[in-house]
């Protein structure tokens, strides 16, 4: 017997029928899973903030990264049921392979999964750094938010002592919310803007958002806060600069 090179062995491997069939199934399932990416974005609706744009981008990227992984698992599962199954109720007459593992496969799997993990991580950290740059650098409008069972109150502290249960925001301007609660935990969630932070009694938590679409969006409480949690709902009206000022003045505030 003469030694056989790795490339020859790989060539032999790729010639085997089951390998080719699994590969085709892999491609097929990868595409199917990939189709979930646009579906996700459609369900989440148009992004109403810079933060939400990043969220949707991330979910799309992660779906495309997950697709080949899921595809491979589904392909092996499907193929084994189609081609390697012993039909019938009784025990199989023949055994399967006696292979107890494959070093190169295991190592390759570890490397690829670690690499994917590193990509996820770098992407995530980059996203988060982006969101943090507003801290101290950019001038954000500060609005206080107070949750109590079961309403939200907004204090427009930069515009006088305007207090309202309605939230108005000027489009394209960064906002910094200081959020707190007077009783139990609530969670201040602006749905279409993809941001939330819990409202806790006795402490203040921060949330930054930059609305990018004019319109009305949903604010839902996202932490079970007792009996009427499902009714703790209000809307945010994102309007032009001018309309925002008009609303503030109408409510007794100042520029």
């Amino acid at each position: 017997m003469s030694p056989v090179s790795v490339s020859t062995r790989i060539r032999h491997f790729t010639k085997r029928t089951y390998v080719r069939h699994v590969f085709l199934l892999w491609v097929f399932f990868t595409i199917i899973v990939g189709l979930f990416a646009p579906l996700q974005s459609k369900l989440m609706g148009p992004a109403a903030s810079t933060q939400m744009e990043v969220v949707q981008e991330t979910m799309t990227l992660f779906t495309y990264m997950a697709a080949p992984v899921a595809g491979l698992i589904f392909a092996v599962v499907a193929y084994s049921l189609l081609a390697w199954r012993s039909k019938g109720f009784v025990a199989p007459e023949y055994e399967g392979t006696s292979s107890r593992g494959n070093g190169p496969t295991t190592v390759a799997w570890m490397l690829v999964s670690s690499l994917l993990c590193v990509v996820l991580l770098i992407w995530g950290l980059a996203e988060m750094a982006d969101g943090q740059t507003a801290r101290g650098d950019e001038r954000a409008r500060i609005i206080n938010v107070t949750g109590n069972q079961w309403v939200w109150n907004f204090d427009y502290i930069e515009n006088g002592s305007v207090r309202s249960q309605e939230l108005y925001l000027p489009v394209n301007e960064p906002v910094l919310f200081h959020v707190t609660s007077v009783d139990v935990n609530h969670s201040f969630w602006i749905v279409q803007m993809g941001v939330k932070v819990d409202a806790n009694a006795g402490v203040v938590t921060d949330m930054r958002v930059t609305p990018t679409l004019i319109g009305d969006f949903d604010i839902r409480c996202a932490e079970l806060c007792g009996l009427n949690h499902s009714a703790m709902f209000t809307k945010v009206h994102v309007v032009s600069q001018g309309d925002y000022l008009a609303w503030i003045l109408k409510n007794g505030g100042h520029q």
Binding site: Q40, E95, V184, S187, A222, G226
Partner: protein
């Protein structure tokens, strides 16, 4: 001692509970500035502990220590009586130490808990079928949501380690029983005592929190919250005891020749699971003790106005809550890893990687808890590090997936119910696991946290992954535990119906979660109605399939086809003993000479591969 059983336990428990109740009402003081609800909480908690203590005494849990103290230690006959020798069905209804009896008791308990929790789920989904349903009022809805959660969590924690960690594991390692047989029975009966306590919650005003019982809402909650608190304290004791038992058994009682390399993977998974539970559940216990003190003594652990913090609760809770999901998952995955070689007629792919994957998950699981708290505002600077550790967990988990598909690869797959469970788990857990990766990304979690997306994710992992694994384990070990084969003519269709229903239900929840529906809401925006309707139809399908499966289990147990000693042709030690398993398992302790994965034979591709290989040293003669 021989007169004590579950009935004396119940009677004595009720007596002590009533006595405790009266004494508490009469003598527990109420401060001038305290409200009546505080006194009620004190009375309720005292009553419940009275019940628990009375029940445990009445069922005979303390006979051993008592006799030892009285210098009339149990003799051999007493021990055999305690082990249920020659006792027939009666031994299942008393404090029996035989691990096989305890395993069956756990199996029945688990099924009862799933039935109760599942019924609650049906009620929840009925309410959610329409956007503005009045089927349940808000109090009942919130209570059912919380009860469903905690019942299912308890059920899934015990569902594999309890029945199979007890019945199968000692036989699998060649032992005659577990290391601490009396503690084994104790751990079971503690849960039995806790169940009526937990189920009393709806009648005490309910619980207004979800199963996570967040403070400060938990301080405000009605007296049903006290039932939750007592249940968790008792459950934590039970799992600590069980954990010590399983760990000691696996480490010290393996048969001669069973080195760690020859130890079945199920043992690794179960030991890893309790290894994680042992540090984690005390955190849960502490969190509830503090909650109880806040409610009854005006302690301010979680009260921000008086120097406490709700974040203390969240940290304690999630320090338990995250490892806990691996406590749930690992035994189920390990059971499936154990049966996949048998049903692929092929060895486990890379046993070492399987152990490594389990070890990696176990180690990392203690380091990720605050990914449940990204949006809490507690420590935004720590979100990055927790994102790192959380994303790292995908690596050992992925390794286990490789072991599964590697074992199936070029195997000869036998499509019986245990193996179908493997396939269902691979599908469901993949979806659950991948969606977990989305959520591990902090900005994405800000969008998704607290929505139905989260609910869908954890049902896909815990129910689609772990519970499916438990069903596979039940189907696999059913012949050994009951002496009968599980009827697959109904069992497989039932399983398939459950899986289809499951996917419909929880895919629907991913959809409405992405659309923006929060979790734990009794009413929702009209926008989500279609998705919810679909989920409810899926839920009813699950219910129907589950009932079919229950019917199958019951009828097979009573008059199914009698099973041979090793119907699956497996190689682990539990299949080498007769069915029904004798009281002491082995007449002669076995000596192990190989691992249990010696399946497979050369096939056409193996031979071709042989031809491709480099010559090894012992082919020296050929070169000449």
């Amino acid at each position: 001692m021989r007169k004590l059983n579950v009935w004396t336990g119940i009677v004595f428990g009720v007596i002590v509970a009533v006595a405790a109740h009266y004494l508490a009402k009469r003598y527990i003081p109420m401060g001038a500035d305290e409200t009546g609800t505080v006194l009620m909480d004190r009375v309720v908690i005292t009553t419940m502990f009275g019940w628990t203590l009375g029940f445990m005494v009445g069922v005979g849990a303390f006979v051993g220590p008592y006799r030892w103290m009285m210098n009339r230690d149990l003799d051999h006959d007493d021990q055999m009586w305690l082990a249920g020798k020659d006792a027939g069905m009666a031994r299942y209804f008393r404090f029996t130490t035989d691990h096989k009896v305890v395993g069956i008791q756990y199996l029945v308990m688990t099924m009862v808990l799933f039935a109760v929790g599942g019924t609650m789920a049906m009620m929840i989904r009925t309410q959610l079928m329409h956007a503005d349903s009045t089927f349940l009022n808000n109090t009942w809805y919130n209570t059912l949501v919380g009860m469903h959660g905690i019942i299912m969590i308890i059920a899934t924690i015990i569902m594999v380690s309890g029945p199979f960690g007890n019945f199968v594991l000692p036989i699998m390692i060649g032992a005659r029983d577990m290391a601490f047989p009396r503690l084994n029975a104790l751990s079971f009966w503690l849960i039995f005592a806790a169940v009526p306590v937990l189920l009393s919650a709806p009648f005490l005003g309910g619980i207004s929190t979800g199963w996570t019982a967040y403070a400060p809402l938990s301080t405000q909650a009605p007296a049903g919250m006290d039932a939750y608190i007592v249940t968790i304290i008792v459950f934590a004791i039970s799992s600590a005891v069980a954990g010590a038992n399983i760990t000691t058994t696996a480490v010290t009682m393996r048969a001669r020749g069973m080195t760690w390399n020859r130890t079945p993977i199920f043992v690794f998974g179960t030991v890893a699971s309790v290894g994680v539970a042992i540090p984690a559940f005390p955190m849960f216990m502490a969190s509830q003790i503090f909650s109880g003190l806040d409610r009854t003594q005006g302690a301010a652990f979680y009260d921000a106005a008086n120097g406490g913090s709700g974040w203390l609760y969240a940290n304690l809770f999630w320090l338990m809550g995250h490892p806990e999901v691996y406590v749930i998952l690992l035994p189920a995955l390990a059971a499936l890893l154990e049966l996949t070689p048998v049903f692929s007629r092929s060895p486990l792919f890379s046993f070492n990687s399987a152990v490594g994957g389990i070890a990696g998950i176990t180690g990392l699981s203690m380091l990720v808890w605050a990914h449940h708290m990204y949006a809490s505002g507690w420590a935004p600077d720590l979100n990055g590090p927790f994102m790192l550790t959380t994303e790292l967990i995908s690596i050992p988990t992925g390794m286990l997936f490789l072991v599964f598909i590697g074992t199936i690869w070029r195997g000869r797959v036998w499509g019986r119910l245990p193996m179908l469970a493997v396939y269902a788990m691979l599908f469901n857990f993949l979806i659950g696991g991948l969606t977990g990766i989305y959520m591990s990304d902090v900005p994405v979690d800000y969008a998704l946290h607290g929505s139905m997306y989260i609910t869908a994710h954890f049902h896909y992992t815990l129910m689609g992954g772990a519970l499916t694994g438990m069903i596979g384990a039940t189907a696999y070990w059913f012949p050994k535990m009951t002496g009968r084969m599980l009827n697959e003519k109904i069992g497989i269709p039932a399983f398939v119906i459950m899986q289809v229903g499951f996917n419909v239900t929880f895919m629907g929840m991913f959809l409405v979660g992405l659309q923006g529906q929060q979790r734990r809401v009794a009413h929702y925006d009209k926008l989500f109605e279609n998705g919810n309707f679909i989920s409810t139809m899926g839920a009813y399908t699950i219910g129907f399939g589950a009932l079919m499966l229950l019917y199958t289990v019951i009828t097979s147990w009573r008059r199914g086809e009698v099973a041979s000693d090793n119907p699956w042709g497996a190689k682990t030690l539990e299949w080498m003993v007769p069915t029904p398993v004798p009281l002491e398992n082995f007449e002669v302790p076995p000596v192990v000479t190989s691992d249990p994965y010696g399946f497979g034979g050369p096939d056409a591709y193996d031979l071709e591969y042989e031809a491709d290989r480099r010559p090894s040293d012992d082919l020296e003669t050929e070169r000449v």
